[in-house]
Symmetry: C2
DNA sequence: TTAAGTGCAAATATTTTGCTGTCAC
DNA sequence: GTGACAGCAAAATATTTGCACTTAA
């Protein structure tokens, strides 16, 4: 039984190791997909990409692994204003939170990092005495291009 | 054929009239539910409440009416961090946007209105040249009570 | 009158679960 | 060796759609 050709040395796998979570071929494939994704994959896309690495990966394993990653705060779950259907999108959680903007005309997703967003969360922590663990700011509207060509 | 006992004079109905959208018994029931809801109902709850007013209301009419209200910007659709299942919650859109905070321990939903939030949206409009139409800030974490009893 | 709206049943989409066999440690 | 994890199939949940009938305007 050959070892996988490409050992993905990403932080997701490192996290799993650190926390003593068992590593499997299938999880390795899914983690690799999440590591290398440019952005915003839904469950079906993750399944398809993972199966290219390990054809045995099943849809339920994808959902189970996504749940695991979510529980450990390693990925974020997004709606992206349901631009396409009712499913969710997932992305690695790295560095600072960012705002997602979905153009309701062309469907483009833009991201935006803002200090004000960080301050707003701090204000919530302070004023509401609420411990902020996850936050999701999604905005729907028109992007610069579509806004012009109204 | 008797007229409905209670004419709900809410703004939702007014909006429908203004925009020339046809009013039906079923829509009146659903609009009335949305008008008088204290908060955050999901589709099934809306169906149940609407059926108390007009027993003929069907689930698909609820979904069709919710879509209509959403399209007209009269209600907001929320996830509330999927505290219970994968469905959505709906609330009337009135006045200013607010932040929703969901306690991951006790499930309580808290709302918070903040000038910083308004400013953040203005910053997005300006810095990203993005026309903001809808925005949703949802925060998951621990409320004041649960935070204390950790 | 008639286009828009409705209920009903069935389809679709998304996610979860039970079970039995397999594999990482 | 054994407990955690996998695939598979089926269930559960959430939402949408086709169609024939009804109704608001």
């Amino acid at each position: 039984m050959p070892l996988p050709q490409t050992e993905v040395p990403g932080r997701l796998q490192a996290h799993f190791a650190e926390r003593g979570i068992r590593m499997t071929q299938q999880r390795r494939a899914i983690l690799s997909v999440m590591e290398t994704a440019s952005k915003h994959l839904d469950a079906s896309q993750i399944l398809r990409k993972a199966q290219k690495i390990d054809a045995s990966v099943d849809r339920s394993t994808v959902y189970r692994t996504l749940r695991l990653l979510k529980r450990h705060g390693l990925i974020d779950e997004l709606d992206l204003m349901h631009i396409n259907g009712e499913g969710h999108y997932y992305e690695r959680r790295l560095g600072r939170d960012h705002i997602h903007m979905a153009c309701l005309r062309c469907g483009k997703i833009t991201e935006f990092v803002s200090d004000s967003f960080e301050r707003l969360k701090q204000q919530v922590e302070k004023d509401c005495r609420f411990r902020v663990l996850i936050s999701r700011l999604e905005i729907g509207g028109y992007c610069a291009t579509c806004r012009g060509s109204q």
